[in-house]
């Protein structure tokens, strides 16, 4: 095979992969999901059965004495059943004055045991993680995670891979348009004899308008939701509590473009010396409806 043929072959594969990836995004069956505007906190929201949600999560931060970084995570969320949602995450990051690397993957499942709505709606969460120490997606904070973890060079961080099991108890309530969600996180490194690590996340949010307008619009209050998130570590089984843990608090705002993407932004402020000063989080998500259903909505 000549060099030209090789280049053509690689270009053809890349085009096919790009087309495969972009086709669902270009189909006129997109819609905005009803997910609350949280980055770390989970609510009782489950993906509608048959729908596939693509989310690109970006995180930017500059730890003290370290280089600024941008983490990108692609999240693919699929509604298997009304009571079961499964997700895959692919994460990577770029650190200034260092390199750009793939940091690992996660596979999570959420189960909602109780049918119907209750004052508190519980959801069980189980996740397997295979991520290197260079991962900077900060999808949760557990144990004694701190800003100093982000000072490793990419070469140092990628040499060690953590395979861990993460569980969450998600509790969610709704009243008067408000969503209040609480997560209790327990994580165990499966390779090491490390203790269980704990964490928490709290989120509260509300749409800016309760009723929709008769006329189609994009920048109108019913398409916005706003709220706040608080999350951090709770130590380990060897030392449960707030000592030597990091915590973040921040407002969050989301625009749900009708039959288009959801766009969410939040600055998260570090609450103590173990935290990064400010983390900027930005999400864009598309929901592809009834992706494996033979007849699509018109």
């Amino acid at each position: 095979m000549t060099t030209l043929e090789r280049v053509a072959s690689v270009a053809g594969r890349l085009s096919a992969m790009t087309l495969l990836f972009l086709t669902p995004l270009l189909m006129p069956i997109l819609c905005s999901a009803q997910e609350p505007p949280y980055f770390v906190t989970y609510s009782d929201y489950m993906e509608e059965p048959g729908n596939l949600d693509f989310t690109l999560k970006s995180l930017n931060g500059t730890p003290q004495y370290g280089n600024s970084f941008v983490s990108q995570t692609l999240e693919l969320e699929y509604g298997v059943k009304g009571w079961w949602t499964t997700e895959v995450y692919l994460a990577g990051q770029h650190t200034s004055n260092d390199s750009t690397i793939f940091t690992g993957w996660r596979w999570e499942n959420r189960f909602r045991p109780l049918p119907g709505e209750h004052f508190i709606n519980p959801v069980f969460y189980v996740e397997y993680e295979n991520v290197s120490f260079a991962d900077k997606s900060l999808l949760e904070i557990t144990g004694h995670d701190s800003a100093s973890d982000l000072l490793l060079t990419n070469a140092q961080g990628r040499s060690k891979v953590e395979r861990s099991l993460e569980t969450k108890l998600i509790l969610s309530s709704k009243a008067g348009g408000w969503d209040l969600s609480e997560n209790f996180i327990a994580e165990k490194d499966l390779n090491e004899s490390d203790p269980w690590e704990f964490g928490y996340a709290l989120g509260v949010s509300r749409p800016l308008a309760m009723a929709a307008r008769g006329k189609a619009c994009v920048v109108c209050p019913e398409n916005f939701a706003a709220g706040a998130e608080l999350y951090g570590g709770l130590g380990t089984t060897d030392g449960f509590g707030l000592r030597a843990t990091s915590h973040y608090l921040g407002p969050t705002i989301q625009l749900r473009i009708p039959r288009g993407p959801n766009i969410t932004f939040s600055p998260n402020f570090g609450l103590n010396a173990n935290s990064v000063g400010v983390l900027y989080r930005f999400d864009v998500s598309y929901e592809v409806q009834q992706i494996f259903h033979p007849r699509r909505a018109k």
Binding site: Q34, E48, N51, G82, E117, A209, A212, K215, R259, A297
Partner: protein, 139 residues
């Protein structure tokens, strides 16, 4: 038993099963929810708002004409159209997860009532309902 009788029996059995499945959620609706009044009923602007919400959240499964898709039921069926506004509102809030109907409790209550208004405005007509747009006031 002859084949035509067996076929009739099977069809009748399936129809009864489907009818039972369609009405099963209604039997779960508490009386207090069943009789709730829709504050957004029969108001053109709210029906129009409901149709936009329907297109965004419901048409994916029930079809843009609300006639159902595959196993997803028609919302123009007599079972749905004869249900009270409170019944449908209860279903939107609680869902029927075992049958694939998600809960829409994340949508604010007024928005859910607007969807109910739109669904009830469809009637049992098999013709596609145009999207309701409120009339422009003459200048």
């Amino acid at each position: 038993m002859s084949w035509p009788r067996r076929c009739c029996g099977i069809v009748l059995g399936l129809a009864m099963t489907c009818a039972a499945a369609e009405t099963s959620w209604i039997q779960k609706v508490p009386e207090a929810d069943r009789v709730r009044a829709n504050p957004y009923a029969k108001q053109a602007e709210d029906i129009a708002a409901g149709s936009r919400l329907f297109a965004n959240y419901c048409a994916q499964c029930h079809g843009s004409d609300a006639k159902g898709r595959g196993k997803r039921p028609s919302l123009r069926s007599a079972g749905v159209q004869q249900a009270t506004d409170g019944d449908i509102f209860w279903l939107l809030k609680n869902g029927n997860r075992r049958r694939g109907m998600p809960s829409w409790s994340s949508l604010p209550e007024p928005s859910r009532w607007q969807i109910v208004s739109y669904v009830k405005s469809l009637g049992t007509s098999s013709k596609a309902q145009p999207v309701h747009e409120p009339q422009e006031k003459p200048r």
